[in-house]
Symmetry: C2
Subunit: 545 residues, 2 copies
């Protein structure tokens, strides 16, 4: 059996290696357009920034290793240009010589990845404008920065992972960075109130943030720099421009083979990673995948799922039945010492899909015991089904311990877990690592309190007309007052109940929601229509950053 | 309804607070023998070591807070001495005045905790010998250290959590520390080969380790120091002695009430935390709990489960049906910058219970992408059911990221997850946080390979008589040779297959197991009886530390 794999990075390389492990006799050909296979494109921004100084360390494997360890015929700098699905041949061109030949296959695996979006804007090919998708891209940027040591102004276009990682790495190299993002927020997978703190963080590190504006063109100005013009009429001069507008599935080959594409523009595959042609599989950034939370088809350009898909395609090609369970969109990014991570569905995704039977909570627990020095706050949002408490998604940020809590929640989502599971999770606890009630447990406990109707919730900015009852102590209120709130410290509430009007719904607020919950319990049991303002003053402040 | 709660730390305090939140009308009395409620006993060693400098920060809550926020009648320095279950009264004694009175109850909650084991050894009450169980204990040790600045020799007895945390904190204060442990390993919940590296770590930090020896008595020597004598006949002079021999459930009160105790010596409770007397509940270190992995009754003196139990007892007392799901023994300890953590059952526990239908793997992945600076190795052992791959337990150590991987596995154990779930987990990945194939995924992938029979396993020191085939490169073998091994580098294996004898079972070894797996695949598909040595040279070296 001869298997041809188009693409030699995450999904393709994983597929090739797995195939060989299962089938020592198969003929395996791996074709890669670029000069490298199996390289760490997630590390490119850090190579530009000098954190990863040695380019060679980005090369996880090389063609020789694939030949030596896996007896795989690797052809780099070779492009697949067309597929004849009927004849089971793929046309490949040697990019050095231009020579073309037809490669036959029994099974074909498409792992072409995604291509960086490059809109046809005037001037987009000017020198000094770069993508960050491949090792040569990163090398070119490093070279440009080295050759233009006085060019200290960068414009980064696009506020996704790569854009933001580039922003940080350019700031660390003392460039004055402007970030232009078309949407009204950065980090599109996050709900807007969870993205706002990331925006504030960028501004604190001197980044000029341009939201809700899009680039219309690039002009070389008399000084030799590039003027970046935007729709709003503004111009941002730049010595270097980074294009990070996102990626789209590379489906050119798939189209040439007449394969079915999905609604989101990716290659359509079944759970075995098989395309509409039974001899052709597809994996990685080019395919549409099922989101296990929403059950909707989606695109997710992440290395982890690509690797899993590559292995699963290999299994099925080798005659084993193996199923891809879908994706849940777990992701993480570090920005100036703060980690932002998430998993599952966002509120805006749920709303877009009309799935409104969810509830959400905000909380601000410490990453380890408060009594142990160095405790950092984790800001969390948890989204869960109103009906049965199934966890739908979580978004968190903080200086420490964020990855761990999101991974716990991701694992629960994978297993269909609920907020009741989360409150009962038995996690690592010693004071320098967590709390007896871990941050993740707190999320579960609060959510379960809501579902058990012990804690009716209200959210800030949800247009509520309740009377705000602030149960913090006077010193806290002096530091930050909530306009229009009635102030009764929690410890006086039982004695001063008569001061709370009975004819209105009461929304109780405190610093983070904990004391408000206690006050809500007192009020509810005394016949008041009381609700807790989720996340308290911290949520209010977050939404106002 | 009047509820009396005996014990005001983790389980008791959680129960009291939860009860009030559910039932604003109940009369709640909380009785605590010591001078403090709700204090952080997990922080005591760090207070002794000065990491937590301020004693007040250990006091999570105080009686006034319980009165103000929860309207709970807290009585500190008050001991419950007997229960009359028929009359539903508990005798309480004011430790300051000695006055006794009978307190009636409708429901009684026992949260007396566990007491430090203090064997009746000669000299055990000498000045300079301390427990580390309460805030006054820690204060006394700090005072002693301050008053004896020249006393630089410490003997710590017991190599469990508290003993080891005390060792570290005393070393950090420049004491020469000897640790005496009766068993042949420290950290009893770990399998011995996973504990050995912790022992080596202590030795590297100058600790004198005495294993397999027990203390027989203490004598004040002429210099004023204490001679600690052991069974083997050795004597260890000490200026301070820390007793950390573990704890046993405090069941005196339960016995006075005629409550049923379990085989392990703890108070027997049902899943609702109810004792054999329907009016009496018990929670925390004093009770026996069900281990969800082994289904056996066990004792587990940890704050997290105690808190959960307190809340569940409160629910049931208040008329809500709430069930404690049992424990899995997730735990963590930091030692000199290395973290040791585990969850679920150990191999020795499984063997003790006769549950031998398990398999285990060793692996040594990086905590984040190798290509990003600062990657640290995590040493992992994963134990899983041979039949269906259910994860039974995991033990790991390393300098970073250990808590996170153990928490992921703990969460899967909670949900009955398998190694197949683990290999498919979608976890946070960016190069400074993890790998596209995370350390946890690797554990799942390797285990799944074993169960799918792609990778027959052999373990070091398992008395195997296979021919060892070392597939590392010559430079690696020069640095560390495996005695008696045939050496063929992986990349030459296909060409040199004829050199591998066909009449013997082949055990393939490499550095960590990855190349050995590839070689095993080649050999198996060429008709050899090949197995992979799990964990490779790293596992060999670990077992020989």
């Amino acid at each position: 059996m001869k298997i041809v794999i188009i693409g030699g990075v995450a999904g393709g390389a994983s597929c090739a290696a797995r195939l060989r492990r299962i089938d020592e006799a198969a003929e395996i050909v791996m074709i890669e357009r670029g000069p490298y296979v199996s390289y760490a494109n997630c590390g490119l921004p850090y190579h530009v920034g000098g954190v990863i100084e040695d380019e060679a360390s980005l090369l996880i494997a090389n063609p020789q290793l694939f030949r030596d360890q896996f007896a795989i015929d690797v052809r780099i700098s070779t492009e697949a240009t067309a597929i004849d699905a009927k004849a089971k041949t793929v046309t490949v061109r040697d990019l050095a010589t231009g020579a073309e030949r037809a490669e036959t296959y029994d099974k074909l695996v498409l792992a072409p990845g995604a291509t960086s979006i490059k809109p046809p804007l005037p001037g987009i090919d000017l020198p000094g404008i770069f993508h960050v998708r491949t090792v040569p891209d990163a090398r070119a940027i490093r070279h440009w920065l080295g050759a233009n040591p006085k060019g200290k102004r960068a414009v980064v276009i696009g506020g996704g992972f790569i854009g933001l990682e580039m922003v940080e790495n350019l700031v660390h190299q003392d460039l004055a960075v402007t970030l232009v993002e078309m949407a009204d927020q950065i980090l599109a997978p996050l709900d807007v109130e969870q993205a706002r703190p990331a925006e504030a963080l960028l501004r604190r590190h001197g980044v000029t943030l341009v939201l809700g504006d899009s680039v219309t063109g690039f002009v070389k100005n008399p000084s030799g720099a590039i003027d970046v013009a935007t729709k709003s009429g503004a111009t941002y001069p730049a010595d270097i421009v980074i294009l990070a507008l996102g990626v789209r599935p590379d489906t050119a080959l798939a189209k040439s083979a007449g394969l079915t594409l999905g609604d989101r523009g990716g290659i359509k595959v079944d759970a075995h990673m098989r395309t509409s042609d039974p001899a052709i599989y597809a994996v990685g950034d080019a395919v549409e995948v099922r989101d296990i939370v929403t059950d909707a088809d989606t695109l997710l350009a992440l290395a982890g799922p690509a690797n899993r898909q590559g292995r699963i395609a290999a299994d099925n090609i080798a005659g084993r039945t193996s199923v891809f369970r879908g994706v849940q969109g777990t992701a993480i990014i570090g920005l100036f010492g703060t980690t932002f991570a998430w998993t599952g569905a966002s509120e805006k995704t749920l709303r877009r899909l009309g799935r409104t039977a969810y509830e959400k909570i905000y909380l601000y627990p410490n990453h380890h015991a408060r009594y142990y020095p160095g405790a950092k706050m984790i800001s969390m949002k948890l989204i869960f089904a109103k009906s049965d408490g199934r966890i739908l998604g979580a978004q968190a940020y903080g200086e420490d311990g964020v990855d761990r809590r999101i991974d716990v929640i991701a694992t629960l989502i994978q297993k269909g877990g609920t907020v009741y599971d989360l409150e009962e999770a038995e996690l690592c606890y010693a004071p320098q690592y967590g709390s007896a009630k871990d941050a993740a447990n707190f999320a579960g406990m609060i959510a379960a309190n809501v579902l058990r109707k012990d804690m009716p919730l209200v959210h800030w900015n949800a247009g509520n007309t309740s009377l705000l009852l602030d149960v913090r102590d006077p010193a806290e209120i002096e530091a930050y007052a909530v306009p229009g709130a009635l102030n009764i410290p929690l410890k006086q509430l039982r004695a001063r109940l008569a001061e709370v009007p009975r004819d209105r719904e009461i929304a109780v607020i405190c610093r983070s929601g904990q004391r408000a919950y206690l006050a809500t319990r007192i009020l509810l049991q005394n016949g008041y229509a009381a609700k807790t303002l989720s996340g308290g003053v911290l949520a209010v402040q977050q939404s106002e950053t």
